[in-house]
Symmetry: C2
Subunit: 246 residues, 2 copies
DNA sequence: GTCGGGCTGTGGTCTAACCACACTGTAGAC
DNA sequence: GTCTACAGTGTGGTTAGACCACAGCCCGAC
C-alpha cells in the first residue's frame, strides 16, 4: 500500500509527514483558502497514521495561522484553511522575546524600518488612507484619562496597519503587524511611564495627521521621516533607549 | 488544588494552558535558552492535564523554534530551550506562500528592503565581514557546471546572512533568513532559467566583492544601492517580474 | 406549520499501553 | 585492574480506543 511512500520519507516524524502532505496539497491548489481539510479521523486513515499525529500537524498549522479548527457541524465547523501570517509571525516573535534572545530595541528598530518604507511607498490614492483618516477621528473621540489609553492605542495600532497596507506589500504588512503584536503587552505598560497622557495623545494625533497629509501629497520622503520620528519619539518619551546602540 | 487556576483560564484550550505556563516560565527567567523542560509526563502531572495536551504545546514550540526535542537520555536528550526565530518565521512564510496569499514578488521586495538597510547599517569593522570574505573565496573554489550551482547558492545564502548579521539587528537577521528560506525551493529552480550559469556566477561574485568593499569603506549608501541592484538583477535575469507592480 | 428531541459528524481530551533510543551502572570475562 | 557486554532507566514517538461537548440536521409528535 503506502508503505513504499512511507519509506521514502524515512526518518521523518509522523506529524511531519502529515504536514508535508498538507503543504503539498496547498502548493498544488488541491487545498486553498476557504477550503476544508478532511476530518481528522479520515485524514488519519488516509495517511495511515494515528489521529494523534494528524492533530499535532494541525496544531502546528493552527499556530502558523494556516488553518482554523471549529467544533460542531455546519459551514463554520471543521478545519478550514485560512491565511493569517500575522498570527504566526507575531506569536513566534513574542515567544522569542520571552526568551530574551530578541531584544525589544531590535524590534522597535525594525518597526521603524518597515513603517518608514511603507510610508514612503504608500500610494496617495490608496483606499486604506480613507480608513486611516476615520480611525484618527475615532481616536479624537475617545475620552481622556488613562483608562481610555488602551482604546486609543488599539486604534493607533489599526491606523499604523492601514498605512502599511497602503504600501501594497503583504509581507511587510504581516511583519509589521506581528512586530506590533509581539510587543503589545510591553507597549501597554509604557503608557504608565508617561508624565501626561493627554498631552502625549494630542501630540501623537498631530503627528498622525502630518504623516497622513504627507502621504496624500505624494511626499514619500517626508512621510518616512515623520513616521520614524513619530515612533522613535514615542518610545523615547516612554523611557525605552532603543536607538542608543553605541 | 489547581482548579481555581484552571477556572481562571476558563475557555482556554488545554494545550494553550500549557503554552501559557511555559511562556510564563520563559518570561520570568525560570526557563532560559539551554535549559530543559520537565519531562512530558512530569509536566502533564504538574499541570493536571494529559500528556497529549503537553505534547501539542511542545509541538507548537518546536515549530516556533523555541525548543528542540531529543529522545534518549543524557545532555542531548529531553526537551531543551533553544532560540531559532528564523525557523519559525521561515516555515510560516513558506506555508503562506504555499497558500498563494503571500506573493513571491512581495517576498523579494521585502528582502531587498531588509538587505539594503542591513548593508547601509553594517559596521565596516564587523567581524562577520571576515567570514563573508571567506565565503566568497569558497564560492570561487566551487567547480563549474549546473551540478555545482547548488553548492554556490548555499554559500551565497550564508554570505548574505553574514552581511545581515553585520548590521547587528537580530530581528532583521531572522527575518532575512526566513525570507530566504521560504523561497529557497523556488530560487533553486530559477537557475534552470539562466542561459549561462558560469557567466552569471562570475557576475554575482563581482557584485558580492563590490558590496563587501563598499561596506568596508563605510560607504553605506553605495552598499545599499549595490545590494538592491544585485538582488533585483538576479531575479530579473532568472525571469521573475517582481518589481513590475504597475 | 411548529416544536422538540434524537442522530450524526466534528474537534477536544484523556488513558494506557507499547516502541526506539541513548545513556548508566553493574556483573562478568580476561 | 581493565575492559566488555548487557540489563536497567528515563526520555520522546506513536498508537488505539474511549468519552465529551458542540452544532447542525432530520424526523416525528403535536
Amino acid at each position: 500500500m503506502w508503505s513504499d511512500h512511507i519509506n521514502y520519507y524515512g526518518d521523518m516524524r509522523t506529524h511531519q509527514l502529515v504536514l508535508t502532505w498538507i503543504e503539498k496539497q496547498l502548493s498544488e491548489g488541491a487545498l486553498s483558502v476557504g477550503g476544508r481539510l478532511p476530518a481528522e479521523r479520515t485524514l488519519a486513515e488516509q495517511l495511515g497514521v494515528s489521529r494523534t499525529s494528524v492533530r499535532e500537524a494541525i496544531r502546528i498549522l493552527e499556530a502558523m495561522g494556516v488553518v482554523r479548527a471549529g467544533v460542531g457541524s455546519g459551514p463554520e465547523a471543521g478545519t478550514v484553511v485560512i491565511s493569517d501570517p500575522t498570527a504566526a509571525l507575531g506569536s513566534a516573535l513574542r515567544l522569542h522575546v520571552a526568551t530574551q534572545h530578541l531584544p525589544v530595541a531590535d524590534i522597535v528598530e525594525t518597526r521603524v524600518l518597515l513603517e518608514s518604507w511603507a510610508a514612503a511607498r504608500a500610494r496617495a490614492d490608496a483606499p486604506e488612507l480613507e480608513q486611516a483618516a476615520t480611525l484618527l477621528d475615532e481616536m479624537d473621540a475617545v475620552g481622556h484619562g488613562s483608562r481610555e489609553a488602551d482604546a486609543f492605542l488599539a486604534l493607533d495600532v489599526r491606523f499604523h496597519l492601514c498605512l502599511a497596507d497602503a504600501a501594497g506589500n503583504a509581507v511587510v504588512s504581516a511583519m509589521m503587524g506581528s512586530l506590533r503584536e509581539s510587543i503589545q503587552g510591553y507597549a501597554a505598560t509604557l503608557t504608565a511611564n508617561l508624565p501626561d497622557w493627554d498631552a502625549t495623545a494630542q501630540r501623537l494625533q498631530a503627528e498622525h495627521r502630518g504623516i497622513l497629509a504627507a502621504i496624500r501629497n505624494d511626499d514619500g520622503d517626508l512621510a518616512a521621516k515623520l513616521v520614524a520620528a513619530h515612533i522613535e519619539g514615542y518610545y523615547r518619551e516612554a523611557g525605552v533607549r532603543h536607538a542608543a546602540k553605541s
